[in-house]
């Protein structure tokens, strides 16, 4: 469904991604793991058009995305849950969700989408009129995911959903990721929390200093000695 071929990107004179190729099939959940500064967030930003591609191709169901500005990429069916959730802290939960359905195609279905997201995450319904900045960390992540789902994307990008959350909340958040998978969404998830993420994805790539170093099924990576030593501390 989503295919990256030879993608390079960076900031100014600093190159963050070198010749990255990966693909995500329909209905699949794919993880990208790697240490801090490996280029994981850059990868997400490149896919969603927040950062221009320097070289290579990005295709979604055969349609070229490279060079498209961010506000058009979402219309193609890619929703991005940014790092640190990035809710609009002064808006209510419902207003945040409505922002997720800003694009015209989603705007027509705002009511049903809201109902659907509330069904998926009943907690959000309870808090619909609460100011988003006052939610707990886990609820914020829930709201951020809900916001991304409002556009009914073909693929959901999640950037470090567990970052900055307490261990117990991290469990909940991965629970949310499972729920979304069960709903049949295609997911590309970037995580530092390697052990946890390998439990929820089908396949994963290991990204190190801007290059794909390893790839394989979740099982393979879990049993890979290098991954175990470097990232799971076993």
């Amino acid at each position: 469904m989503l295919q990256l071929a030879g993608v390079s990107a960076g900031y100014g004179s600093f190159q963050a991604l070198f010749d990255v190729s990966l693909d995500v099939g329909a209905g699949e959940a794919v993880g990208v793991i790697g240490p801090n500064g490996a280029g994981k967030t850059t990868l997400m930003r490149v896919i969603s058009g927040m950062l221009p591609v320097r070289a290579g191709r990005i295709d979604l169901e055969g349609r070229a995305l490279a060079g498209m500005p961010a506000h058009r990429v979402i219309g193609e069916g890619i929703a991005h849950v940014p790092e640190n959730r990035r809710l609009f802290p002064g808006l209510t939960v419902e207003e945040n969700l409505r922002m997720g359905a800003y694009i015209p195609s989603a705007r027509q279905h705002v009511r049903e989408r809201l109902e659907w997201v509330y069904e998926l995450f009943p907690r959000l319904k309870e808090r619909r009129d609460q100011i988003a900045g006052t939610l707990s960390g886990g609820e914020q992540q829930m709201c951020a995911i809900g916001r991304a789902l409002m556009s009914k994307p073909k693929i959901l990008l999640m950037d470090e959903p567990s970052a900055g959350l307490a261990p117990l909340v991290v469990q909940q958040v991965f629970g949310l990721v499972r729920r979304i998978r069960e709903e049949g969404f295609t997911v590309l998830i970037v995580e530092q929390n390697v052990q946890q993420v390998l439990e929820v994805v089908d396949r994963a790539y290991l990204l190190e200093v801007g290059r794909i170093r390893l790839s394989g099924s979740a099982e393979e990576l879990k049993n890979n000695d290098f991954v175990r030593q470097a990232y799971m501390g076993i």
Partner: protein, 284 residues
């Protein structure tokens, strides 16, 4: 109680409504585009001239002339954004402010060039309302009511529409607007149009009470800036409260001393408040 003081206080409240409208417009633009239109009061002046010419000179009905002014200044807002602000969005914010300073210069002197320095009045005589011994000018009362109505409409626009929500969201997290499918540039243009229209609306209300001349903007600009800083730039509620505070000082100060001195007092008050509450009066 001093009946004239009561009158001054009431007039202060009525003036506050119009100033609040101006502060709302400036804060809206600042919150979204992150730029201060130094020439905002001069755009009001443009609106006043539009109404003057259409109504007093060409004999259009006043409401129609006002409508044209609101739309016209709204369009001017779009032009200001596209021609002056957009080309330098990437450079230091202070440059954008200075560029609109150039616009202030331009509008003021261009108006002088076109119309001379004459004071022009639309020649509308409105009744004076008498309540007990207190006299209230009807035109000020109308101005106040319309200003409040404008603020309420703005409130509903910002809270009930998609674009309104986006306008509030953009000031909270500019960077991720693209992820929501929002084209920032479009939001900027729409905000500039709304901000311009608010200046146009203020022009409709001010033209009822004041003569128009090329330097009329100087009577409202500086005080509006003080109000915005006092309320916290971009903070609409703060600006709203500050408008009524400052208008009281001006109105009551003007009653006891002179209108010029009342501005000086307002400024002193402003400096003192800056010592006490630097982030604006509503800061926690």
């Amino acid at each position: 109680m001093d009946i004239y003081l009561v009158e001054a206080i009431i007039n202060g409240i009525l003036l506050g409504g119009v100033l609040a409208l101006l502060a709302l417009g400036l804060n809206l633009i600042f919150g979204v585009v992150d730029v201060v239109w130094i020439a905002y009061a001069e755009m009001v002046m443009v609106g006043m001239y539009v109404i003057y010419w259409l109504h007093a000179y060409y004999g259009w009905p006043l409401p129609l002339a006002c409508l044209v002014a609101v739309i016209g200044v709204g369009l001017l807002g779009i032009l200001v954004h596209l021609l002056i602000i957009q080309p330098i969005l990437g450079s230091a914010p202070i440059n954008q402010l200075l560029a609109t300073g150039g616009l202030l210069f331009f509008l003021q002197s261009f108006a002088t060039l076109l119309f001379g320095t004459d004071f022009r009045n639309i020649g509308l005589r409105m009744p004076i309302i008498e309540i007990g011994d207190i006299f209230i000018s009807f035109s000020r009362l109308i101005a106040f009511c319309v200003a409040l109505a404008g603020a309420v409409i703005l409130y509903f626009f910002l809270s009930r529409t998609h674009i309104g929500t986006a306008i509030r969201a953009i000031s909270q997290d500019r960077e991720i607007m693209g992820l929501m499918g929002v084209d920032e540039r479009k939001v900027y243009v729409i905000t500039s149009a709304v901000g311009g229209s608010l200046a146009g609306l203020a022009a409709c209300l001010l033209v009822l009470q004041y003569d128009v001349h090329p330097f009329i903007g100087l009577s409202f600009g500086p005080i509006t800036f003080m109000i915005c800083v006092l309320g916290g730039l971009g903070n609409m509620i703060g600006g709203f409260v500050a408008a009524f505070l400052m208008s009281q000082i001006i109105s009551v100060g003007g009653y006891y001393f002179s209108i010029e001195l009342s501005y000086v007092f307002a400024f002193l008050f402003f400096i003192v408040l800056m010592f006490i509450r630097p982030q604006g009066i509503l800061a926690k």
